[in-house]
């Protein structure tokens, strides 16, 4: 056993650090580290920069323009990016659709879509959930009926993240209403500019229009935009959801938030002393740091296991549950550290207020509210526990 990074991995990490030090634009960095709000422009710009320097997709194979890094290196890359204050890379194209295209897409589809995902030219969104189909995704009702060389798609999708910026959507649709639910689903790639698509924002509890309802009315989709075979979409969707394990725990983001928490707690005062010196608060800080440390090594342990070993399979669910819980716990502590100031929401900026030297604390309450989503989307924590009990414990 040796729990130190290998010399190769250390060298890799140093290259990442050197790249970030010179190429991450200061304004983006500052926005990410201080703010908690999402900026679409930053995401686009950053993906462009990554791409220009060959870091566009560290997890992709070299033949598709990726860096073909090991799982540990992928993990290190994300960690360093998060700590340095880089914006997220959009998962929908890079982590979800990309690998599906590589595995199941036609060469034409691969050549058409993958380079534009890598460069950030195309913004993809995910059209799975429907009002009646959340956890029970296979009950989805949006239909696609073939008519010559097109499908005609009708239905409604919901909870569609950042679809307002999207150029394309990958959509699960029902192509056979008579088969068992899982057997009659296909995966279609749909241009968001196609007539018949209506996008309506859903405002979330923190006041942001982060997700959308999408109506599809007689939307014509070329048959060539179907992935793989008709009625095999469920297989592809499952592949897509199960693919990601290097960064599902969000260790990088949690470490960044832990640092934010320590900065905030050192600055905020309570009862005459900095919050960080308050023994009760310190204990909770220590506890969450321990939980994060454990998750970090659980994550590394799983990433070091051979890719097709059983422990790699169950990894994703454990990492997702604990990762979301720790992120949420950190957001709770940030609110606690703010004290009464956390009550202030959607504040009108005031130049002379004492709290105006703001390091993003105005957004911390909103972030706490918003991050409740982490245990709901992408397979809720209850569903993840069902998966663990079935696959790991065999219940």
């Amino acid at each position: 056993m040796d729990l130190n990074l290998s010399p190769d991995d250390v060298a890799f990490r140093d290259r990442v650090r050197a790249f970030l030090a010179t190429e991450l634009p200061a304004d983006i960095r500052e926005r990410t580290l201080s703010g908690t709000r999402f900026e679409a422009g930053d995401v686009r710009r950053w993906q462009r920069i990554l791409h220009d320097h060959g870091w566009g997709a560290v997890h992709w194979p070299a033949e598709f323009g990726g860096l073909q890094s090991t799982p540990i290196q992928q993990y290190l890359f994300e960690l360093e990016c998060a700590l340095a204050g880089a914006p997220i890379q959009l998962a929908f194209g890079l982590r979800m659709l990309g690998p599906v295209l590589m595995r199941y897409g036609s060469p034409v589809q691969q050549q058409r879509f993958l380079p534009r995902i890598l460069s950030g030219e195309d913004w993809w969104c995910q059209g799975y959930s429907e009002p009646g189909a959340g956890s029970d995704l296979a009950s989805l009702k949006t239909t696609a009926v073939q008519n010559g060389d097109h499908y005609v798609v009708n239905g409604q999708k919901c909870w569609n993240t950042l679809g307002q910026f999207a150029d394309w959507i990958f959509c699960l649709v029902r192509t056979d209403g008579t088969a068992k639910p899982q057997r009659g689903i296909s995966l279609l790639l749909i241009d968001m500019k196609t007539p018949g698509i209506t996008v309506r924002p859903t405002v979330l509890l923190d006041g942001t229009p982060e997700v959308n309802e999408i109506w599809l009315q007689d939307v014509r989709v070329p048959v060539e935009n179907r992935i793989g075979e008709e009625n095999q979409g469920w297989t592809y969707a499952k592949f897509l959801l199960g693919h990601e394990r290097a960064n599902i725990a969000g260790i990088g983001a949690s470490k960044r938030e832990l640092l934010r928490l320590k900065r905030l707690a050192a600055r905020q005062r309570r009862g005459g002393q900095p919050v960080i010196d308050d023994p009760d608060f310190r204990r909770r800080l220590a506890r969450v740091e321990i939980d994060l440390l454990a998750l970090e090594y659980t994550n590394l342990r799983m990433l070091s296991a051979p890719a097709n070993s059983p422990s790699a399979g169950i990894a994703a669910s454990i990492l997702k549950i604990r990762g979301s819980e720790i992120r949420q716990a950190l957001s709770e502590l940030l609110v606690e550290a703010l004290g009464t100031a956390a009550l202030r929401f959607a504040a009108h900026p005031v130049a002379d207020a004492a709290d105006a030297e703001d390091d993003g604390s105005a957004g911390l309450t909103a972030a706490y509210l918003n991050l409740r989503k982490l245990s709901i989307f992408g397979g809720s924590n209850e569903i993840q526990k069902n998966i663990i009990s079935q696959t790991l414990i065999g219940l």
Binding site: D280, A342, F345, A347, V350, R372
Partner: protein, 374 residues
């Protein structure tokens, strides 16, 4: 021992609930939240007509002189309906400040108007329970009167109040307010930076930059004991509000899980979710018991008994608020984080209840200092 409410109290509860059901639905509330004032003057008038604003005004001053149970019941309904009108700020905190500390002249001048809803007042004080607070407002006395300086962040309803009752320290104990001054809205040197709170109420950071008031503006003499009692009473009302919100949160969640179908039937049939709702219920019932206990102690002459009961209640209310609020959102799935569904508004109200009137740390600390010997 008797935990039941009298017939009159049941009637009060029914009236309050009927009012909320008729006048304060989700859409009506949304409209109020979006309005320029951030509260409804019409609703406020109706609350006055129902007598709710007179509960804490003594009979001698033209009010109802009701006891804690009445305030508790109305507060619970305020929480059930997520009212954003200043019941707690004006009809409990400010009203009780004047009733407890005010001179006969001050009471006669303001209390009838408060009871009638013609005047809105608020207490400017950071109820941090020693632990969470910043420095108090300072009051410097001279021959002509008093000069007030300092700042209190996020004072609920300060921006819509006609009268601000400013708790300040005259110097003897710098951190701890020992006096109250009546400052009219718009007084020179009074600066309000309005904001919306996380639970959608109007508030303001209140800053006093050398605000001058006359000697007669002082409400009572040494206000330390009186203020402590008034703030504990406000804490009690806040806890009762939270119980109302908690009840609705659980009921709404139970109802949702019975009607939301996934995998061929209602999600309420999953035992994982059933047990979660049982855990929610247990926390609410534990908190409710301590809020009832607080009702019987919040008027106590014995400050220690009162403080123990109130801090105990706040600790369990905060615990329930966090757990029940978070799990209610979780059990609603995506619906839980939507602004267009009531549950997220309960969640936010419960978060505010957790933060206001002292954190759990502060109240555990106060309880700890008063641990019973036996």
């Amino acid at each position: 021992m008797d935990f039941s409410f009298t017939d009159e109290q049941e009637l009060l509860l029914d009236n309050a609930r009927r009012f909320v059901a008729e006048r304060y639905g989700f859409a009506a509330r949304k409209h109020i939240l979006a309005s320029a004032d951030g509260y409804s003057a019409a609703v406020w008038k109706e609350l006055a007509d129902l007598g709710f604003l007179a509960l804490n005004v003594p009979e001698a001053d033209g009010g109802l002189g009701a006891g804690p149970v009445e305030t508790m019941l109305v507060s619970m309904v305020v929480g059930e309906g997520l009212l954003v009108e200043p019941f707690l700020s004006s009809a409990v905190l400010a009203t009780r400040t004047l009733a407890t500390l005010g001179s006969a002249e001050q009471r006669a001048r303001w209390l009838p108007k408060l009871a009638g809803g013609e005047l809105i007042a608020t207490l400017v004080l950071e109820a941090g329970y020693g632990r969470d607070g910043h420095d108090a407002i300072r009051a410097a006395g001279d021959a002509g009167g008093w000069e007030l300086s300092g700042r209190v962040p996020v004072v609920y309803h300060a921006g819509i109040a006609d009268l601000l009752l400013v708790a300040a320290s005259t110097g003897a104990t710098p951190g701890e307010p020992d006096a109250v001054f009546a400052v009219p809205a718009g007084a020179p040197g009074l600066h309000l930076a309005s904001c919306t709170t996380v639970d959608g109420q109007v508030a303001a950071d209140v800053e006093l930059r050398g605000v001058r008031v006359e000697k007669s503006a002082r409400v009572g003499g040494d206000a330390r004991l009186g203020l402590a009692a008034v703030v504990d009473y406000g804490l009690f009302a806040l806890c009762a509000e939270a119980i109302g919100a908690l009840d609705r949160t659980l009921a709404t969640t139970v109802e949702y899980t019975k009607t939301r179908n996934q995998f061929g039937g209602p999600i309420a049939r999953f035992q994982a979710l059933q047990h979660r709702m049982v855990d929610m219920l247990m926390r609410i019932e534990q908190a409710r018991s301590l809020v009832y206990l607080a009702a019987s102690r919040c008027d106590d002459a014995d400050g220690e008994e009162r403080e123990r009961a109130l801090s105990a209640a706040k600790v369990l209310v905060a615990d329930a608020a966090r757990f029940v609020g978070q799990q209610a959102v979780q059990l609603h799935g995506g619906m839980g984080v939507s602004d267009e569904v009531a549950i997220s508004h309960y969640f936010k109200r419960l978060l505010a209840a957790e933060i206001r009137f002292g954190s759990s740390d502060a109240h555990l600390g106060r309880y700890e200092r008063r641990l019973s010997a036996g």
